[in-house]
Each structure stands twice: as structure tokens, then as C-alpha cells.
């Protein structure tokens, strides 16, 4: 699949890369006095900003959703077989599954947000959960969906329900990344799973979770030994840092000691640095995947900056969370 050549799509993406946000633009965005000023700057950059009426945070959220949709619509327009990008979309599917299960088992119908960028339509997901007919879902999703629903139904343990679905999501992402045959997508899957495992281990260490929980939550990947990670997590955060010092993620230890958000930023930056060579690849799937990842990264960064500005956080505090850019 990775041998397929995307001459039209990659050339078009090269033009689109010109409108990606640069580090210097983010510097300017960090310096805005009001969120409205930030919206104007983004509008000048071609971002879809709705005019007046709603609150600023609503306008920001709508803008971010519109930009996310725009990215996937563009890729969908150029690529016939979108399955190659499943590794980037599966997260949305499992988020939707979680939302559908919780929506079905709670009386409130408000506050549930489904992502339209998954591989399975949210309505199919809702129908599967409502009718308990999981056969209409992709095969790898059926078992965790049924198990998570039973757990929530009979034990009301929302956390365990989340753990089952999150682990299934990580395993699906890892498998989808390797299945593409594309180095960059396999690497994305690997880094996504590894960083999620480390985050889970740190959270578990801080909340005193036992080995059973860790075994249920950690997903396997090539660059981490999850048995060692789980053992370290039971011992504490320092033991996790000692363990990862001997892995490919040795630098992450320092970030973990600073704060969870510093570690998350480090993980996102690692992915962005890993995809940067795609800027010079002329016609494989890599540059397309890199563009999607870069767009998701800039949408996440704009969300961080704009939320910080809306909530009047100090500039330094926002700056610490800003991700590196692809261009």
C-alpha cells in the first residue's frame, strides 16, 4: 500500500504547506492582547472564523472543528482509498464508541460530542450500542465495545470502561500503523502507543494503581517493554523515569519530572520532528500523512493558545505548552 504513488496529492499538499502556521506566526499569536485579535490573525491566514453572535470560546471551537474537517475533506478529495490513514482516524472511532456507550447508559443526552473524522459514522456507532448489535462495527472494535458496555452496565465503573476502550484504541492504532507498510505511519503508531503507555504508567503511579490495572491498561509496542514499565509504575514515578532512561525515550524522563503537560508537549514535538523529513519526499503517502499530523498539531496548539488567552493565563504559562511546528 505504501508503494502507491500520489503525484497529484503530494504536489497539491506542497502548495497547502505554504499556509501552515509557522513558529514566527505562533510567536505573534502569543503576543495578542485579546482573543478577538487572535481570531482576526487566524482569519487572515485563511482559517474559517464565524462572525460575531456567539461567545469567543464558541467561535474558537467552531473554527477548530471547521479546520479539522477541512483537512480531512481535502485529503478525501485527493485520495481514493482513505484506509491508509486509518491509523490517524481510529482515535476518533474509539472516542465515539466511548461517547455512544456513555450516552446510551445515561439519561442525559446533552454534552456528548461525536467526531465526524473517524472511519465509522457516529450514527452507526450509536445504532450498534443502542441495539447491542456490535456486528455492524469493525471486527477489532466488537469485543472491546461489548466488554466495555457490560462493565459500565453492571458495575457502573466508568474508569474501567474507559481503560478497556483506550487499550483497544491503542492496539488498533499500532496494528493499523504497521499494516500500512509506510514507515512514517508505523512510526506514528509506535510513538502514539509508547507515549500513551508512559502517560498511563505515570498517572497510575501517582494514583497508586496496582499491577492488575496496569496490565489491563498498557498496550504493547516495539520500543517499550510493558512488563518492565508496569513494574516500574507500581514502584513509583522515579522508577518509571529510571526505566525510560534506558529506552528510546530517555529525554522524556526530564520532562516527566517537570510536569505531565511538559511530557505531553515533548511527545507531540517528537512526532513532529520525526515527520519533518517528509517535507522532501516527493510522491509517497508520507507527505500526506505528515500534513494531516501537522494540521492536527497546529489545531491543538491554536486551541492551547486561544484557551489560554480566553482564560487570561500568563503568556509564559501558555508558551510552555506550545508545540513545535512542521514548517
Amino acid at each position: 500500500m505504501s508503494d502507491k504513488q500520489y503525484y497529484y496529492a503530494v504536489a497539491r499538499i506542497r502548495s497547502k504547506e505554504l499556509s501552515l502556521l509557522s513558529a514566527s506566526f505562533l510567536e505573534q499569536l502569543l503576543g495578542i492582547k485579546t482573543p478577538e485579535e487572535g481570531l482576526r490573525m487566524l482569519q487572515d491566514k485563511g482559517w474559517e472564523v464565524s462572525e460575531g453572535g456567539n461567545s469567543v470560546s464558541d467561535r474558537v471551537e467552531k473554527m477548530l472543528q471547521a479546520e479539522k474537517k477541512k483537512t480531512w475533506d481535502l485529503i478525501g478529495e485527493m485520495v481514493d482509498d482513505m484506509s491508509v490513514f486509518n491509523v490517524l482516524r481510529l482515535n476518533n472511532d474509539y472516542h465515539n464508541l466511548k461517547a455512544a456507550i456513555k450516552q446510551a447508559l445515561t439519561t442525559s443526552k446533552h454534552g456528548v460530542i461525536f467526531s465526524e473524522e473517524g472511519t465509522v459514522s457516529p450514527s452507526v456507532m450509536q445504532e450498534a450500542v443502542a441495539s447491542r448489535d456490535f456486528s455492524i462495527l469493525p471486527e477489532q472494535m466488537r469485543e472491546p465495545a461489548e466488554e466495555a458496555m457490560d462493565i459500565l452496565l453492571y458495575t457502573h465503573d466508568g474508569q474501567l470502561c474507559d481503560v478497556i476502550i483506550d487499550k483497544a484504541a491503542l492496539e488498533a492504532i499500532y496494528e493499523a500503523g504497521n499494516r500500512t507498510g509506510s514507515d512514517i505511519l508505523a512510526l506514528y503508531g509506535e510513538l502514539t502507543v509508547a507515549s500513551a503507555d508512559i502517560k498511563i504508567a505515570v498517572r497510575a503511579a501517582k494514583t497508586g494503581k496496582d499491577m492488575k490495572f496496569l496490565k489491563a491498561a498498557l498496550a504493547g509496542c516495539r520500543t517499550l517493554n510493558i512488563d518492565s514499565l508496569a513494574t516500574a509504575a507500581v514502584e513509583g514515578t522515579d522508577a518509571i523515569c529510571d526505566y525510560i532512561a534506558n529506552t528510546d525515550y530517555a529525554e522524556a524522563g526530564e520532562e516527566l519530572k517537570k510536569s505531565p503537560s511538559a511530557f505531553e508537549r515533548w511527545c507531540d514535538n517528537l512526532i513532529i520532528r520525526s515527520i519533518k523529513p517528509e517535507i522532501s519526499h516527493p510522491y509517497t503517502v508520507g507527505p500526506l500523512a505528515a500534513y494531516i499530523i501537522a494540521r492536527e498539531n497546529e489545531i491543538k496548539t491554536v486551541r492551547i493558545v486561544m484557551s489560554g488567552k480566553i482564560n487570561d493565563l500568563p503568556e509564559q504559562s501558555i508558551r510552555e505548552r506550545v508545540r513545535e511546528m512542521y514548517v
Binding site: R12, S15, M78
Partner: protein, 157 residues
């Protein structure tokens, strides 16, 4: 018509055939990339068109070799010469450089052209430099063209 004449015709045909196939593939790939750039920025049409056309020259060189060979064989005048097997083989191998180098160089040049189209998409001011990369591949098609012309002209009539 004897085997010698048939071999000579096969050589002439292969020069046009393989070099033409290479150019068709190359120009096709370049066209896809060019269309991608023009979708986003129609002003770059003329720049990407030139880059798209660069792998097309091998097809012209193949046609030229085929034309020279057919002329010398008398096919163009409607009176093909009856050649010995040895002379026919000489024509066949004389046309071979253009046939094979034409095919490979056009496909490789297309890769360089596609990459250069990507370069122009991002940095249109570097158009001049972007032409040089695929043009370097052209060198080997021209060498093959020269060898084929010299070889055909060196075959005793």
C-alpha cells in the same frame, strides 16, 4: 523481406516504442503533479508545464532515431533494402541505446521533475534551479541519442 531487414525495422521501432513509453509515463506523472500545484495556485501553470514536459524529449529522440534508421533502410521511400542478418543486427544494436536509455531516463527524469514541481509549489522563485535537476538526467538521453546516430551512420550501406 529478409530477417536482416526485419531486425533493422525492429531496432527502429524499439527506439520509438521504448523511448515513447518512457516519455508517456514521465509526462503523465509530471502532469499529475502539475495539476496538483495548479489546483491550489493557477498562476504557476507556465512554470510547472515546462517541468512536466521535460521527460517528453526522450520520445522525440526515439522518433528521430527511428526516422533516421527508416530513411537509411529505404522504408520512407517505399523501397526497403534487403539486408543481411549481420547488417540487420547492426541496425538493431545501433538503435538499442536510444530505446533503453530513453525508457529509463524518461522515467527517472519524471521523478526529478515531480520533485522539482514540488519545489516550485513552495518556492516559485527557485524555478531556474528546479529546472536543472531534471535537466541533468537529460544528459544521458542525449548521450544515447548521439551514440545511436553515430552507430546508424557508421553502418555500411
Amino acid at each position: 523481406m529478409g530477417i536482416g531487414t526485419a531486425l533493422a525495422l525492429a531496432g527502429a521501432a524499439s527506439a520509438a516504442l521504448f523511448a515513447g513509453i518512457g516519455s508517456a509515463i514521465g509526462v503523465g506523472r509530471g502532469g499529475q503533479a502539475a495539476a496538483g500545484v495548479v489546483t491550489e495556485d493557477p498562476n504557476k501553470f507556465s512554470q510547472v508545464l515546462i517541468l512536466q514536459l521535460l521527460p517528453g524529449t526522450q520520445g522525440i529522440y526515439g522518433l528521430l532515431i527511428a526516422f533516421i534508421a527508416l530513411s537509411r533502410l529505404g522504408v520512407m521511400s517505399g523501397a526497403p533494402a534487403d539486408l543481411s542478418v549481420g547488417t540487420g543486427l547492426m541496425y538493431f544494436f545501433a538503435c538499442a541505446p536510444m530505446a533503453f536509455v530513453g525508457l529509463i531516463s524518461a522515467m527517472q527524469q519524471a521523478k526529478a521533475s515531480v520533485a522539482s514541481i514540488g519545489l516550485v509549489a513552495k518556492r516559485p522563485d527557485q524555478f531556474g534551479k528546479s529546472m536543472i535537476f531534471p535537466a541533468m538526467v537529460e544528459t544521458y538521453a542525449i548521450l544515447a541519442l548521439l551514440v545511436s546516430i553515430l552507430a546508424i551512420n557508421g553502418i555500411p550501406t
